[in-house]
C-alpha cells in the first residue's frame, strides 16, 4: 500500500515551494491576460481552480480504465466539457466579467496547468489526494494572479475591485495612473520581478546557469 499522502504538504507546497506559475512554468498563458483588474483575475482563478479540481477528481476516478494511447484525448474531452459548463454559468450570472474575459475562460481547456497536473498527479493517485493537489495548485495559481492583478489595477486605475483607493487626478484627486499597467508589457515585467523576488528569498528555486560565466576581466588602467 502506498505511504499516507501528506495532505497539508500537498495543499501548501504549490503556494510558494512548487508554485505552478513561477516554478513549474505552467498556466502562464491565461494567467497574464486577465490580470488587468482584480475582478477578472479572481473570476479566472476561481474558474480554473474549479475546473482543475473537478477534472482531477473525475480523471482520478477513471484512471484505471483509460487506455494509455488515448489518455490525452480523454483528459482533454473531460476538461473541455467542464469548461463549457463553467463558461455557460459565467455568461449567465456574471455577464459583464464574462465579456471582458472573452475567450480566456475557454482557453482553460488547453491550460498547461490543468493538463499538466492531471497527467502528473491525478492519473496516479486516488480522488481525495488528487483533489487536494488540484486545490493546492489552484491556490498557488490564484495567488500569483491576484498579486499581479492587484498591482496592475491599483497603479493602472487607482482602484481595487472597482473601489477607488487612490483618487484619480481627473476626478479631483492626486493620483495620475500609470497607463503602462493596463498594457501587456507590465504583466511580463511584474511577473519577472515576482519570480526574481521569490527566487531571491528561496534560492533553491533558482536555475543552474547553462554555461559557466566567463571570468570577469578588469579593464586595464
Amino acid at each position: 500500500m502506498a505511504a499516507r499522502v501528506d495532505f497539508w504538504a500537498t495543499l501548501t507546497d504549490p503556494l510558494i515551494r512548487q508554485n505552478p506559475v513561477t516554478l513549474q512554468i505552467l498556466g502562464i498563458c491565461s494567467a497574464l491576460a486577465v490580470t488587468t483588474s482584480l475582478a477578472t483575475a479572481l473570476t479566472m482563478s476561481v474558474s480554473l481552480t474549479v475546473v482543475l479540481t473537478l477534472s482531477a477528481v473525475l480523471i482520478s476516478l477513471i484512471r484505471r480504465h483509460i487506455p494509455d494511447s488515448i489518455r490525452l484525448i480523454v483528459q482533454i474531452i473531460i476538461v473541455a466539457s467542464l469548461v463549457i459548463v463553467i463558461d455557460q454559468i459565467l455568461q449567465a450570472y456574471l455577464a459583464e466579467i464574462s465579456r471582458s474575459l472573452s475567450i480566456y475562460v475557454s482557453l482553460i481547456t488547453t491550460n498547461c496547468l490543468v493538463l499538466g497536473r492531471t497527467e502528473a498527479y491525478a492519473r496516479h493517485h486516488a480522488p481525495l489526494p488528487a483533489a487536494v493537489d488540484a486545490i493546492g495548485n489552484g491556490l498557488g495559481y490564484s495567488l500569483i494572479l491576484l498579486l499581479i492583478g492587484g498591482v496592475r489595477e491599483l497603479f493602472g486605475r487607482g482602484a481595487l475591485f472597482g473601489w477607488p483607493v487612490m483618487p484619480l487626478a481627473e476626478a479631483g484627486g492626486w493620483f495620475t495612473p500609470l497607463g503602462l499597467m493596463l498594457l501587456a508589457p507590465s504583466a511580463f515585467f511584474l511577473l519577472g520581478g515576482l519570480v526574481w523576488a521569490i527566487r531571491s528569498l528561496w534560492p533553491d528555486q533558482t536555475e543552474a546557469p547553462e554555461h559557466p560565466p566567463l571570468p570577469r576581466t578588469e579593464p586595464a588602467e
Partner: protein
C-alpha cells in the same frame, strides 16, 4: 486584397499572439532557448494554425453555428456551445494527420518540425486562433489569412526571443533572474516594442 493583407499584418504584429495577447506562452518560453528550436516551433505553429483555423471555420459554419441545420429542417438548433470540443477534436486530428502526411511525403520537413508537432495539440494559441475566428465572424479567406498571419507573428516573436536568450548564455545574471525571470523581462521589453504596432494603419 488590401483588406486581407492588412488582416495578415494585424494578426502578425498588432495582435501578436505571444506578445500582445499572452497566448501560447508556455511553449513560447520553453522552446525559445535556442534559435533552432524556436524556428522549428515557428514553422509548426504557422502550418497548424494555417490549416486548423479554416478547417474549424468549415466545421463551425456547417454544423455548429445557429441556423446551420436549416437544411435538415432544424433552423433553431444552435450547437455553438459544442464548438470547444469540436475544435479540440479537429486540432488533435489535424496535428496527427499532418504529422503522418509529412512523415510519408516530406520527411525533411517532418524532421525540421521535430517533436513540436504533437506538442501543439494542447497549445493555447492554436485553440485561440479558432475561437477568435468564431468571435470575430471571419469568412473563409479571412480565416486562412488570420491563421497564417497569427502563426507568422508567433514565429517572428519566438525566433527573436531565441536569438536574444542565446546571447545571454554567458551573461552575468543575478541568480534569481536566471532562466524564467529574464525570459519574462525580455518578453516584456519585446512586447513593449510590439505595442508600437498598435498605431500601425494601412495607408490608402
Amino acid at each position: 486584397m488590401t483588406a486581407l493583407w492588412s488582416l495578415f499584418l494585424s494578426a502578425a504584429f498588432v495582435d501578436n499572439m505571444p506578445l500582445t495577447l499572452f497566448l501560447g506562452l508556455c511553449t513560447f518560453l520553453a522552446l525559445s532557448r535556442r534559435p533552432e528550436s524556436a524556428f522549428g516551433l515557428g514553422i509548426a505553429m504557422t502550418g497548424v494554425l494555417g490549416v486548423t483555423v479554416p478547417l474549424n471555420w468549415l466545421i463551425y459554419q456547417g454544423l455548429l453555428a445557429p441556423g446551420a441545420w436549416a437544411w435538415a429542417g432544424q433552423p433553431e438548433l444552435d450547437l455553438s456551445y459544442l464548438s470547444l470540443i469540436a475544435f479540440i477534436g479537429v486540432i488533435a486530428a489535424t496535428v496527427q494527420l499532418l504529422e503522418m502526411l509529412l512523415d510519408r511525403f516530406f520527411p525533411a520537413i517532418h524532421a525540421a518540425f521535430g517533436v513540436f508537432l504533437p506538442l501543439l495539440t494542447v497549445q493555447c494559441a492554436i485553440l485561440a486562433g479558432s475561437l477568435f475566428m468564431v468571435d470575430r465572424g471571419y469568412d473563409f479567406p479571412q480565416s486562412v489569412v488570420f491563421g497564417l498571419g497569427s502563426g507568422f507573428g508567433f514565429a517572428v516573436a519566438v525566433v527573436m526571443l531565441g536569438a536574444i536568450r542565446t546571447r545571454l548564455a554567458y551573461a552575468h545574471l543575478p541568480a534569481g533572474l536566471r532562466g524564467l525571470g529574464i525570459a519574462f523581462v525580455l518578453t516584456g521589453i519585446m512586447s513593449l516594442g510590439f505595442a508600437s504596432f498598435a498605431q500601425m494603419a494601412m495607408s490608402q
